[in-house]
């Protein structure tokens, strides 16, 4: 069944690419048709999702060369030639991310894995099924608007693990939000395997939610705050060393493209010496990180679209936070603090615009949906997105 088409940047210039990928599209189309028939989605959502599905043909080989995201070849190669390497490879204590990603791809039996674009259909199915699942928690029929963000089109149209990170993070956050802590931690672990830092941010939400669940009494929360502050002060050295490692690794990986197995003690230039230093850097970088890429950094149409998307997402966060005063509820802060923690860490560690934008979206999107679900759970009133829309 498998051929070596994917090894070539130009799929041999034949029309077989379209023959194979349209067959795969029909498989995905049938899944969406079944959901339509079962009334899990309405007709508008069905048609809009067809545009998301068909955007597969828009990116790889058409708008961009697949080599622009070389990890696509790595994942496809790993999926085809090295599926049995196991959860732990070599002496590493940390699960093999590539193997886990392969298993995600394996779970949906796409008929023809022939090119580097074939596994994209798996990401599309996961995204679609997540949308269907999220509809149970966000009854607003305009939820589909969030799934039409340009980054969703882009990342779901590439053979990357971005969609798996987003999907598992959404499921983890919503389970935790609805007090299903065991399921929540299972999915948080999955997120951590796929992207360790995102798992950490959700873990913060998990911990805060458990504390809130135990008691929402002010004195108890103050006691926890004091305890947390003492722990943070005691763990300052370890925390700052980890942050410095990541800062250095991000710079090294993005500029050099190498594995970052180097001596951290040499990277004095990026060393953060205290929490004060950390907060100062964060305060400087968060506003920039939120709106990246800024107009003077634009290098093409993609950058303009991503800037507009960043502004739109901030607008959506603003609406969810402030409309119907969600921020006045104590539970809001369990999610908001985890979100702020993630935002701060990402703002401090990311070194290059492209990576920052990519990481920001896989972090933003699950939290956006979680805030939306929280709004529905706590406030229970319909949001107004665009005036009387």
């Amino acid at each position: 069944m498998i051929n070596e088409f994917f090894a070539n940047e130009n799929y041999g210039g034949s029309l077989f690419y379209y023959l194979f990928e349209f067959s795969n599209y029909i498989f995905v189309l049938l899944i969406s048709l079944a959901c339509l028939k079962l009334k899990k989605i309405n007709q508008t959502e069905f048609y809009l999702f067809q545009t998301i599905f068909l955007s597969t043909f828009l990116f790889n080989y058409f708008l961009i060369s697949p080599r622009l995201f070389p990890d696509q070849f790595t994942y496809t190669y790993h999926f085809i030639y090295d599926p049995g390497s196991g959860l732990f490879s070599g002496d590493s204590w940390f699960p093999n991310t590539k193997w886990v990603t392969s298993q995600f791809f394996n779970l949906i039996p796409i008929p023809l894995i022939m090119t580097v674009s074939s596994l994209i259909w798996v990401s599309k199915v996961y995204l679609f099924l997540t949308f269907v699942w999220v509809k149970k928690y966000i009854s607003d029929d305009r939820l589909i608007i969030l799934f039409l963000l340009p980054s969703i089109f882009l990342y779901s149209s590439l053979t990357l693990r971005e969609i798996f990170i987003i999907v598992t993070a959404i499921i983890a956050l919503i389970h935790i939000l609805h007090n299903r802590f065991v399921l929540g931690i299972i999915f948080t672990c999955l997120v951590a395997i796929l992207k360790i830092q995102n798992g950490l941010f959700i873990l913060v939400f998990w911990l805060l939610s458990i504390i809130y669940r135990i008691s929402s009494n002010n004195i108890f929360l103050l006691f926890i705050l004091i305890l947390g502050s003492i722990s943070a002060i005691l763990a300052q050295d370890i925390f700052l060393q980890v942050i410095t490692t990541y800062r250095t690794a991000f710079l090294a990986e993005n500029i050099l493209g190498w594995d970052y197995n180097f001596d951290i003690s040499e990277s004095e230039l990026l060393q953060i010496t205290s929490y004060l230093d950390f907060l100062y850097i964060a305060a400087k970088k968060i506003p920039e990180f939120i709106f990246l890429p800024l107009p003077w950094q634009w290098e093409g149409l993609f950058f303009i679209i991503q800037f507009l998307e960043a502004v739109f997402i901030v607008y959506l966060f603003g609406i969810i936070f402030f409309q119907h005063n969600l921020y006045k509820h104590k539970q809001f802060y369990t999610l908001f603090l985890a979100f702020l923690f993630g935002l701060t860490i990402y703002a401090v560690i990311t070194a290059n615009i492209g990576t920052a934008i990519r990481y920001r979206f896989s972090f933003y999107f699950p939290f956006l949906l979680a805030f939306y679900a929280m709004h529905e759970k706590i406030v229970g009133k319909r949001l107004l997105f665009f005036g009387r829309f």
């Binding site: 077989f16 194979f20 028939k37 079962l38 008929p111 023809l112 090294a252 190498w258």
Partner: protein, 290 residues
């Protein structure tokens, strides 16, 4: 749970009512015929691959950013051998060398002949129309520029950011031709890169010798002598027939079976497409679209 079971039963019934029909059988039959036709008319193509690794070239004096990168990485910055090799691979200079080796006739006429010097070039209607309108001459014969375009379209060169090996690949109808083409291309690209490097090094050596001829403080003279030694060492390394920028690990080799078309995949893809189209047409007719 009951709802899910009912839903699954519904879907199975729906699939049965569409798939287990005479219409689907016809569609399947047509898909088999179409697939057979497609496979018969398609020329099989083999994957030709070669694996290389880049050599560590003599590094030029590092800049400020290099120092920072070296500091954060703990390693010296990588050589630019891959960049030089891959740039020359797709250069006109390499295409010129390949053309001189007779690859024009081998690629475009499928024959190895040194007697044929000119190969007629076919221009598209649009090109001819544009040339007539704007009154410029079209090149009547193929030349190394066309061969350069062929190289760019056929050959893929890729170096993983986390591995030292360089992979060259391309799809070819003839395995013998493909293997010979890729081997010659690697050597021609490396030779182009070498010649370019040699020219630069020679000019640099002359400039250093000129600087040494003028009286200099001892510390400057010593540095210049060291630099000249380094340049002369580079000249010595470049003055032989071996590849300089890359080391060939696996010479060009062909896949055992044709990579394209994949017979089973073509049958499956066509069966899915035909079954879908047949049932979709019925659906459209039922909804009075047809």
């Amino acid at each position: 749970m009951d709802n899910i079971l009912i839903a699954v039963k519904d879907i199975i019934m729906m699939l049965k009512s569409y798939l287990l029909t005479k219409r689907s059988l016809y569609a399947f039959g047509f898909s088999l015929l179409f697939s057979l036709m497609l496979i018969v008319v398609t020329t099989p193509r083999f994957l030709i691959e070669s694996k290389l690794i880049e050599t560590q070239t003599l590094s030029s004096p590092s800049s400020g950013i290099d120092n920072v990168l070296e500091l954060v990485s703990g390693q010296s910055s990588s050589s630019d051998a891959y960049e030089k090799f891959s740039s020359h691979l797709f250069s006109l200079e390499t295409a010129k060398k390949m053309w001189a080796l007779g690859w024009g006739t081998k690629i475009y006429l499928n024959q190895d002949s040194s007697e044929i010097t000119q190969i007629k070039k076919k221009h598209s209607m649009v090109d001819r129309f544009s040339a007539t309108l704007m009154r410029y001459q079209l090149n009547p014969y193929l030349d190394y520029r066309d061969l350069n375009r062929h190289i760019v379209e056929t050959i893929t060169v890729y170096k993983s950011p986390r591995a030292p090996d360089i992979n060259l690949s391309g799809l070819f109808i003839s395995t013998e031709l493909g293997i010979a083409f890729m081997d010659d291309l690697i050597m021609a690209a490396d030779l182009s890169a070498k010649q370019s490097q040699l020219a630069t090094t020679n000019q640099r050596s002359i400039a250093i010798q000129d600087a040494l001829a003028v009286t200099q403080p001892a510390i400057v003279s010593n540095s210049l002598v060291a630099l000249l030694n380094s340049e002369l060492l580079t000249v010595a390394s470049l003055s032989n027939d071996l590849p300089y920028f890359v080391i060939i690990i696996d010479p060009a080799h062909a896949s055992e079976y044709p990579v394209s078309p994949n017979v089973l995949a073509v049958f499956i893809a066509n069966a899915i497409l035909f079954l879908f189209i047949a049932n979709f047409l019925v659906f459209l007719r039922l909804k009075n679209f047809l």
